[in-house]
Symmetry: C2
Subunit: 312 residues, 2 copies
């Protein structure tokens, strides 16, 4: 397992520490830990079959905010646990996220050409390799959770948690409903269903996995559950807003595509101002749910606010 560097908090800088620069630094530090972990657990690109392993690495490395794995680490730390204990779960969550992007981008689904400022996986490696690289990343996530947990009993709990979030009652249900609802009459209930399954399920699992990895008590686990769910919903509404207000250069992917495709979105249903209000309210509900963690929960608090103020 790659080492997690301890916090390099320089007191000399504390005076001019505002929330934005504090958050940037904390995110950057954990992003670097996450990148090392992903690199560590991905197969080497020269291991046969090299083309598969290249495609898996392409789908995971080279960009991404890594918010979900950082959330896993932040949840573990908020519970007073070691982020090292949560590192396999953090990598597993990012593998599942990347697999879902690769499959969602396929021609038969969202048919996207651009992701993180580069050609999507199937544009770079062809459809067959993209489907198989996605399959392999999903499988690797469960392998990692089962094999790297400090005890096997915990490993099975983590596998169950991630499988529930990713599977036919979680992310897959959300993606199916999203695709089948294109061009239909939007309703708040339907959009809420899609957001809860397609996006919030994995955020909620990320927060819970962080807690479970450091054996958080049930009360804290409940707080993390509420936090992850609200954060995920806020994040998705903010994503839909950015699709309307941002540029492809800023986002690294095509914009205004939801409208052209007849996708159901919250801004499409209620307009931008009310969508912004809804995202802000959800972020503040997320913040409220982790008050009990005190100073240890600061990163969770700032992450929730960042989810709705980010520019990309």
């Amino acid at each position: 397992m790659p080492p997690v560097r301890s916090s390099a908090h320089n007191p000399a800088h504390a005076a001019r520490d505002d929330s934005a620069t504090w958050l940037e630094r904390e995110l950057a530090r954990r992003r670097s830990v996450v990148e090392s972990a992903l690199e560590h657990w991905l197969p080497a690109e020269d291991e046969p079959p090299a083309r598969l392993h290249e495609a898996m690495r392409y789908a995971v490395l080279g960009g991404g905010k890594r918010l979900r794995p950082i959330l896993v680490l932040a949840a573990a730390e908020a519970c007073g646990g070691s982020p090292e204990a949560a590192l396999p779960a953090a990598a597993a969550v990012e593998f599942v996220h990347c697999y879902s992007l690769v499959h969602d981008d396929l021609p038969s689904m969202d048919d996207d050409d651009l992701r993180r400022g580069r050609p999507t996986c199937h544009r770079a490696y062809g459809e067959a390799l993209a489907i198989l690289a996605g399959d392999a990343l999903l499988t690797l996530a469960f392998d990692l959770l089962a094999s790297q947990a400090p005890d096997k009993g915990l490993g099975a709990v983590l596998v169950g948690e991630l499988a529930q979030a990713a599977g036919h009652r979680g992310m897959v249900a959300g993606q199916v409903t999203d695709i089948l609802s294109e061009g239909t009459e939007p309703s708040a209930e339907l959009i809420d269903y899609i957001h809860r399954h397609k996006t919030a399920a994995l955020f909620r699992a990320a927060a819970r996995l962080g807690g479970l990895a450091v054996t958080a008590n049930p009360k804290r686990l409940q707080a993390l559950t509420t936090y992850g769910e609200r954060l995920g919903l806020a994040f998705q509404i903010a994503d839909d807003i950015l699709d309307v207000t941002s540029s492809p250069t800023e986002l690294g992917k095509a914009t205004r595509k939801d409208l052209g495709r007849g996708k159901l979105t919250y801004p499409g249903l209620v307009g931008l101002p009310r969508a912004r209000q809804a995202a802000d309210r959800l972020a503040e509900e997320a913040v409220a749910s982790v008050q009990e963690f005190g100073e240890r929960g600061r990163l969770l608090v700032e992450l929730a606010r960042f989810a709705v103020t980010r520019k990309s």
Copy 2:
């Protein structure tokens, strides 16, 4: 968990019991147990999103020899364990097998229209639903292993075993190599690599999972490992032979397609007679590896011989 009916062995029939009818009866009994288990753990078709759950059920139910899940049960029984303890693993193995068929049949891979005598999943439900139903079945397999094991520690071991067999060093590696090798110069080494990964990895895992589920000792686990590997290789050569010698009506899928597609096959490399010899030799190696199980291992013995004598 669905009940496993105990063996209804009628002594009055024992006298006219030859291997073929004995095997037919034993397979039929376990197939019925497996069908109940699959039905039990698949989502109901009216649970939303209904279209997804219909596609998952379509991909799994309605045909199939169920050799892999029967192998899981037979391995558990050969070790003197209860087949009930191995039933979640049996269902999980079949879910992984069915997911792999759905993804392998896709237009960007083998582009098959017929499977088990019916339209393939993507022909019946469209490509997007087929990809997602496959994703959901793969995920469900791990969920089942993690949640249904009698203890969580065992659950993680089973998840690790199945993930290794299914993932980028197992089935996915085999499928990638199979696709990328189409039309290239055949070699025994390359065909062996493809067969070991694409097919034998899951047979080996099936045999091992049956043993692991009933905490078989290391010596028996090693015997099951050798058995599953040899059986899987024999099964795949027999499959390639049937592709040449059988009809679509007999097989429920297109035949002679390997040749047209430039697929690497063992009969294509060495001819039918030598391919038959190789399959028979592997089946007998499988048989030899489970001699130590005595009468309890009879089903394993007959299964290995059936793998190379079957007509479909």
